[in-house]
Symmetry: C2
Subunit: 226 residues, 2 copies
């Protein structure tokens, strides 16, 4: 891991991210003031469950996986964060200890925000507090969505749901590129890679074509009914 100062490019990435975009400029600048940037290789561990943690992170580029470990060493993904996402915020409110493990899935650049400082700023600036609350809510929702999907849907249905989540509302047919390896998607959906593969081939019958990372949908309706 190498750490650097924030350059103009990173700065733009940071300010364009979902957390910052709605904040007043002054508030953003206050937060960003002494942010540092760290770079990580694929597979690098960013932090481990239970470890002291006094930053929150924003993904400037690359991809980060949040997961828990079972007693037997098996891993369960909690979330995957693409460019622009803020993560690690729960430690800030729960004793400054990581509540999960985080790993770079790819060559990744992170902005590190001092969590004590962010918390202090949130106290002084209602807009920041509000943005944080919205973020926390979104993350809670993501986890609840996952939980409900795990419990209610079969593997092909979860994959269909994921695809539809990436498909704009109006269209009937549509195509997009997976933002990561199938490997990672499998983890995110709580499936073994083999199960994901089989799910895709089950969906082929409902008009889904998979060529490498490119997914094509020919009949949105059929997918919704699945």
């Amino acid at each position: 891991m190498k750490t650097l100062r924030l350059n103009a490019n990173d700065r733009a990435a940071l300010l364009g991210s979902c957390f910052f975009e709605k904040l007043p400029v002054a508030a953003s600048n206050a937060i960003i003031e002494d942010v540092v940037v760290s770079t990580h290789e694929e597979h690098d561990i960013l932090f481990s469950h239970g470890e002291p943690l006094d930053h929150v992170f924003v993904v400037l580029s690359g991809l980060v996986r949040l997961y828990r470990l079972g007693k037997d060493g098996r891993e369960a993904d909690i979330a995957v964060f693409p460019r622009g996402e803020l993560f690690g915020e729960s430690a800030m409110f729960l004793g400054n200890r990581a509540t999960a493990n985080a790993q770079a899935i790819d060559t990744t650049m992170l902005a590190r925000i001092d969590s004590r400082k962010l918390r202090k700023l949130a106290e002084q600036t209602p807009e920041i507090a509000d943005a944080l609350m919205q973020l926390l809510c979104r993350h809670a929702q993501m986890a609840e969505d996952c939980l409900a999907e795990d419990r209610l849907l079969t593997a092909p249905q979860r994959v269909a749901s994921y695809i539809l989540g990436n498909c704009p509302d109006g269209t009937l047919s549509f195509s997009f590129r997976l933002p990561f390896q199938k490997n990672v998607l499998a983890g995110k959906l709580g499936l073994a890679p083999e199960a994901l593969s089989r799910a895709f081939s089950a969906l082929r019958r409902s008009g889904v074509t998979v060529r490498g990372r490119v997914i094509e949908i020919h009949d949105r309706q059929a997918l919704e009914r699945f």
Copy 2:
């Protein structure tokens, strides 16, 4: 559903709850000011997914279940809230629409807090914002814990984990009473009632005795190893 004003008794229950206990008195009073109380019978629906919702709730007595519906009508529990818990807060930050269904599991009394007002107070009072953020974090953690347990543990292991979560740290043997029907516990753990029953009988071999709602643990270690 009948609605009433807050009496002295309710007031005490409310102020003793986890959300309020750390707040300064002035802040609590401001929030409570025009709270109303509603009473509900077992099985009453409190709100439904997607419905407009402009209150947050505190359980004064009874029990509330938060769940999502599958396309086929099956239900997946997200959380169960006992007396003293605040819930329904995510609607406040996500367009004032319920993000799940809520049902009384028992005869239940709720305090209803106007969410617009609470949000406004949070803007003016850092302590309230902070308490809200902690609450949101805790709820996010609960969901993530559930998700990880669902993915990493078998049914008997999840039950063991639940029991251990109700068992003080030091003790070797211990006994407690389930705060609700096994039915409800099964839902909370994402199990069919039959599976819960079988899980209990699997744990019998590790020193767990079940008589009605009373659970007895004779060997904490064995349970942890399970």
